[in-house]
Symmetry: C2
Subunit: 146 residues, 2 copies
DNA sequence: CTCCATCGTTGACAACCTCCACGATACCGA
DNA sequence: TCGGTATCGTGGAGGTTGTCAACGATGGAG
């Protein structure tokens, strides 16, 4: 990979971060395309599936680091395909809880298999200890950057 | 940061990668805004500055992981501001070498100072050894993902 | 009750990514 | 020398993402 060497940006962590991130996202998107999903929608679906009581759109925006207006569209698409449904919250009538349907949960299972398999190529070569450390470092970077 | 805990995506390296990357890019963009630059243009400028003989647009696309058509626009913008110039290559008349002007080099100095200072918040808390390891891991991920 | 914050939603706009097609040039094999 | 094939830069189309401002509806504090 001679293109890698000798360039100053190769030392820039920010650059390496975005380049690696882009590569992984591309790979994941390709794997999810067969299910008609992109990473963004897939992330929302996963979060909805794992929230037993449903999850607020505001929470989705916070966790995903997205603008709330984007979450509206993502949930619209998922709801339009019957993968997710919006249920009014009894506690706070401003919020609408996003819940996964049975169809959504089934699709999530399939999609997750393909996604993890595809990402196995770039990330599989990391040892468990390395993964843990990487998780820790990335989380610290995110919290520090706000 | 209770929003961090308890969500399944918090364990997904791909997700953490893109979220951390997004945060760093946002921070860098904010720091570069004063110079009228975005990270993309800044990256091109840096590469042009550090290539004594100039750099091919194809090389830029390869190193940055961009489509060649995007590089055209980025170089157009930089050239329009006099930060960079296109010089026909004598060896291969298909290619046009991108070279930084004196103005471009001066701006790069200033911009680099601000950019590194801004990124110091999220990345400064990493020890040198951690940085080296992170660089290595990110590079391996990128090469494996193609 | 009033004032202010929050949630979801809509709209607009810029930036970005992906793909396809073209002319010009280079390279390689017959 | 010629002809096919590949590469470089460029342009354009279409979809996706990022960012910001506004709005109605609701909640909460004083």
């Amino acid at each position: 990979m001679e293109v890698l060497m000798g360039h100053p940006l190769t030392d820039d962590l920010g650059f390496l971060l975005s380049r690696a991130s882009g590569a992984v996202v591309r790979t994941t998107n390709a794997a999810l395309a067969g299910h008609g999903l992109r990473v963004r929608q897939y992330s929302v679906l996963v979060l909805a599936c794992d929230a037993a009581e449903g999850i607020t759109q505001r929470e989705l925006a916070d966790v995903l680091g997205l603008d709330p207006s984007q979450v509206v569209l993502l949930v619209d698409e998922l709801a339009g395909r019957g993968l997710v449904e919006r249920r009014p919250s009894e506690a706070d009538r401003r919020t609408r809880l996003v819940l996964a349907t049975d169809t959504g949960r089934a699709l999530r299972e399939d999609a997750e298999r393909d996604a993890t398999a595809a990402v196995e190529a770039p990330l599989g070569l990391l040892a468990d200890a390395e993964r843990d450390r990487l998780r820790d470092v990335l989380t610290r970077i995110w919290t520090a950057a706000g």
